[in-house]
Amino acid sequence: MGVSRGSSLRRGAAAVTCLAVLGAGCASDTPQNTLNAQGPFSQTLNDLIRPVFVLAAVVFVFVEGLIVFAVVRFRRRTEDDRPEQIHGSTKFELAWTIIPALLLVFVGVLTVSKIFYLDRQFKDSMQVEVIGHQWWWEYNYKDAKGATVVAAANELHIPVGRKVQLNLTSADVIHNFWPPKLAGKVYAIPGRRNHMTIQADKADFYYGECAEFCGLSHANMRLRVVAQPQADFDRWMQANSATTPAATYPIVAAADQATASEEAKGATLFLQKGCSGCHAVNGVSRGAVGPNLTYFNSRATFAGAIFANDNDNLRSWLRDPPAEKPGSLMPKLNLSEAEITSLTAYLRTLGDPALRGAPIPAGLAAGPPQP
């Protein structure tokens, strides 16, 4: 008897957990599944919520069970039913005030300790400044003195197993940095600096996006976290140094168009068409409106991590950015096809494609729908 009751209890508990899990939808893994924690900080959140989900499921079954029971059991038999006129019961009302309150004390105690834990700033963590822009992410890796050693965009490279403190702010409106498998989200607010700590336990690619409505292309502000073994990460850091100048090319005069290389022509266009006004290339330009392009070719994606960094996508982008991504601050430059070829060739010289890691899945890199 005792055994069977134990097992039926276990079965009941298992059923309740199943329900919670089903409701939570973690049956299949999806790129941004919050319940598939891949680091200690997201795991902390899930360890916290699991008992709350189970508790909620139990309360749900209990309350809805009572309702269903009442609906079935107390339906009117005849029009002359004369039910007892119960006006209330202090005993019961106290019970359903105190018992839920006690359950909530339990939830509250669990919660409060984690609030303070998650707010900690760990001394040994790596520091990255994250700046939200309409509609892309800027990442500035800082050294101990606070100087930027690497300036990256959209794809955040981090070493596996290391705490990385993200210090968030925004250049324009409020954004919300969210890599669901690694952490919850925190606002990037202009004029303020928020912080969050993330850590990935295994080398992988983690997808996320801006979670606060930030204007026209809010849906097109995605991100990818590339977690690498320390050695690979160090190599990436070195290859993306903010102090190393990019290759330079002599200005190609109109007379030399026929003989000059595409790369050189592209470099010239980069300066002449105004690209350099918005985009920095180390040693070439200091534009700060758009992403730093010094290592553009080492990134797997561009324009808010919504396009795979291939020549087709890049050519379409250069042809008409606002058509590719609504509201893009990069205007249509009315470039000729030949100019696009030259610029593409030049951009391909910026950075080492071997550092890209795995390509982004085709679906996630297809860009927004075209009308």
């Binding site: 599944n33 039910p83 989200k185 202009p190």
Partner: protein, 696 residues
Amino acid sequence: MTSVLETPVVLPDDPRPIASGALRRPVRTDGFWSWITSVDHKRVGIMYGVTAMTFFVIGGFEALLIRLQLAAPNGRILDANAYNQVFTMHGTTMVFLVVMPLGAAFMNYLIPLQVGARDVAFPRLNALSYWTFLFGGLFLYSSVFLGGMPNGGWFGYAPNTSIVFSPGHNIDFWIGGLLITGIASTVGAVNLIVTCLNLRAPGMGLFRMPVFTWMSLVTQFLLLFALPVITIALFLLMFDRNFGANFFNPANGGDPVLWQHLFWLFGHPEVYIMIMPAFGIVSEVIPVFSRKPIFGYKVMVFSGIAIGFMGWGVWVHHMFAAGLGPVSVTAFSISTMFIAVPTGVKIFNWIGTMWKGSLWFTSALMFAIGEVAMFTIGGLSGVTHSVSPHDRQQTDTYYVVAHFHYVLFGGAVFGIFAGIYFWYPKVFGQLLDEKLGKIHFWLFFIGFNLTFGPHHILGLQGMPRRIYTYPTGTGWDFWNMMSTIGSFIIAAGLLVFFANVRKTDRRHKRDHLTVEADPWDARSLEWSIPSPAPAYNFIEAPEVHAVDDWWHRKYTEDEDGRMLRLDGFDKVKAGAEVRLKPGQSVHLPSPSYYPIIAAASLFLAMYGVVYGRSAGANYVITGLGVLLLVCTLIAWGLEPPTEPHDALADPDADRLLGLTPAGPAQGELGRGDSAEEQPALAGGPKAGPSSKGEAG
């Protein structure tokens, strides 16, 4: 407490016309103009309801567009710009133009009836509330033709709504429309609070008020204190946009987070403003159809009051990701958890009311039980939000969309439809078709759960809110498709409801059907008067001896505590059918042109504000609007309290009988009295109605 009902005004026999010319009050009681000028709380309530239902159709249409766009990845129904407008207007419409005014419809119609009053305390202000609401809604939607609808989300976070990031007039229309509708709610709140506190019938102590009236009173206090907060926030935003005030501009020392505090300090009480009337409705419907009193009347009332207070201390749970520091997050996590206690008490008390009852499954009861069951789910997901560390995963995702739709659709809208089926016979004198009502319920119930249940899963799978598209490969396809299918089932349910209204109307007119005063064998005072409720409500002020006074006139409890018909049951029920006889008169508040003119002047003034930003000369329009408003208010103040003809309940009957019209109640009220006129009862609890026939 001095109440008009305790000092009944008896009409003087000598009719003295007291005004003429521009300040004459309109007298017609039928036709189009009678609705335009009506100050009858019941007509105002009906206009609120019909207008809000119209906006419900518009907001629902926007919801269908959203669901079509998101049914599959890379949707092409709407582009980014159109989607952002549609989702902004869906939220803004459903909150400000549907759920709030539907609540207002019930409160306007029912509070005076439930407390046994002739009308609300300030009938003309009541009409002003309605017209400002309507004009505010029209103002918002006029943006469709004037450059595009608001597109900053219903929450309008700064600095995205600043002139730098939203240079068009979209946001200006949002600010203007909400400022105008805010006046409607503030004015209405003052009016209904005074009505509840001052116009209760003799014997109706506060703790004899029906639970619906109690929840309405709590709602009105929330409105009274919450609306100034959003009004201030909107004014600051308007000054930022029109005059470079920099309240929310971080580049010049402003703070965008200030907007969030102001918005949610309004926004969270707003949630209770929307749900509380539905709590009240359910608390009326369940006892009637369970044939039992509400379980724990006082606990129901006090839990509502507790929610009203606690609702002010939870707003930061909308901002757990904003970086406000662990101490404030802790405080607001705990307050958010514990607001679940009084809410849970209500749920258990509703179940307690059904327990051992005799449940009569009308459409009204099904919607009410649906409300309890669905709100429970919204309440439980609300508790998971209070676990603030994990809320950083939930916030800004579809999990939150699921939560608040379970609260506001599963809770408020289901409750409101319970109320519609329940009070429809009292309001329109027609009984809605029960079979179609049940089809409506099941379509809503299934469609609702299919639409919003999957949003829990989508949110936990990492789908953020307010995205106009999502790529393939996210794993969100299936549940989004289910949700879209569900939304069309809801739409079908709404169509069934409208078909029901139409069919019911035709059947009643064809067969000349009437509805008895008390078709549900109900409990509160509004069922003691004929259906539809006559213009004068009660012939005599009812005298109240208990909670559920009407029930106690019909039933008592035997020694086992079971309900027992009183000897005079049939006589009491027949008494509910008694109407004013032709020639008998009751003084009613006179209609007025000024409420609609005042509302229209605000409407005009606000266009000047919107376009003043592009050219200063346009502020002249604002000036004209304000001038019109001032003139209107002066005329309003000088308007005579009454005109001779309107003192008749049935002027046609009187004319047919060849009787002279009744005189104004001007002697009691005083002409030019700056206070709003008081609705007066002819005949106190003991006195009979004053009869024009005898007087003439």
